[in-house]
Symmetry: C2
């Protein structure tokens, strides 16, 4: 798909915006801060984003596109069933380990920041998180329909747990910078899945 020059500029700005916000939080992401980081003028940025809130919403949506590209899309090529559940888990850990966002998971950092701040930004973040968790739960249900996982398992509960292991590894790695944490997380996820085989 060919992008216009305006679309390319917008995308480049949002790339910087997601990187900044994953490290410093969304609240710190003002048009002024972004002007410093991109070398663009404030008025040039205002042509793309009319307000701080608009900038925040566009940044959140851009981060979601990156998450889908890095975690969900690659898993679509795996066969349905446990293989796809595993591809999603492994893809999540790989995305965190490669630091696609330099501050770890953009969504998790910003949802912690906005959890007690009602408004459109919080709503948008939750929307994306619910979509991701729903996708993971759906992959688990497919594995149940195929008879690979125990049908009695609560798919949403298992999705919650697997995602929780990923979140734990994320914060652990951001603090201690020891990549071993991802290996431990893979073992924990695998054991959790294995214990629920049909």
């Amino acid at each position: 798909m060919l992008l216009t020059k305006g679309e390319r500029t917008r995308s480049a700005i949002l790339e910087t915006a997601t990187d900044l916000a994953s490290q410093e939080g969304l609240e710190a992401l003002s048009v002024g801060r972004l002007a410093d980081a991109t070398g663009m003028s404030k008025s040039g940025l205002f042509a793309h984003f009319g307000s701080k809130e608009e900038l925040h919403l566009a940044t959140v949506d851009h981060a979601a596109v990156i998450f889908v590209r890095e975690v969900i899309e690659p898993a679509r090529s795996a066969p349905r069933g446990i293989a796809r559940v595993w591809a999603l888990c492994d893809g999540l850990l790989s995305y965190l380990e490669r630091e696609v966002f330099p501050g770890g998971c953009f969504m998790y950092t910003t949802v912690m920041e906005f959890k007690n701040r009602p408004g459109p930004v919080r709503d948008r973040l939750i929307e994306h998180l619910v979509t991701w968790r729903g996708y993971l739960a759906h992959a688990i249900e497919q594995a149940q329909e195929l008879g690979e996982l125990d049908g009695c398992v609560n798919a949403e509960g298992l999705a919650f747990e697997l995602n929780g292991i990923g979140n734990g590894a994320n914060i652990e790695f951001q603090i201690f910078r020891d990549p071993q944490v991802f290996e431990n997380a893979r073992i924990a996820m695998r054991e959790r899945i294995e214990s629920m085989r049909a």
Copy 2:
């Protein structure tokens, strides 16, 4: 223990400070913001905390005292072994469910905020988190020494997982306000512990 009037005032100020920071983050906690919330003058507050950083460090330490009082102290009365591991897990969930801090876990919110901001505040937060996780791991090791849990289990790894389930429940509850999440977390923790019985 009797507190002097100055100590009582300081403690009351820090109570407000931890409540504010658990909801809005530490960065938003300035002497000015705290003056608004407590009705004290800025100069009165500066007599207690000479700088924003000093205020942040005192707030973090106060939150740690509350965490110890609410989660660790009550578990000390449980017998060593699985009973104490469970008391710690259950106590963590109870502390989150009762919203001892109105924004959920103070430590988790603020460590997410400061993870990419090197300095004394980040160091202090990590120190408290390491102490807590070490305490949980130690309780698991005691259960292994008593022959209740499998000696081959990596105690730190299990502590990481149990804590991760708690963190997941915390953010989930803060977003969706459904207390069922704590029941699910209890089930997940119990299954994890049961699967590692000697």
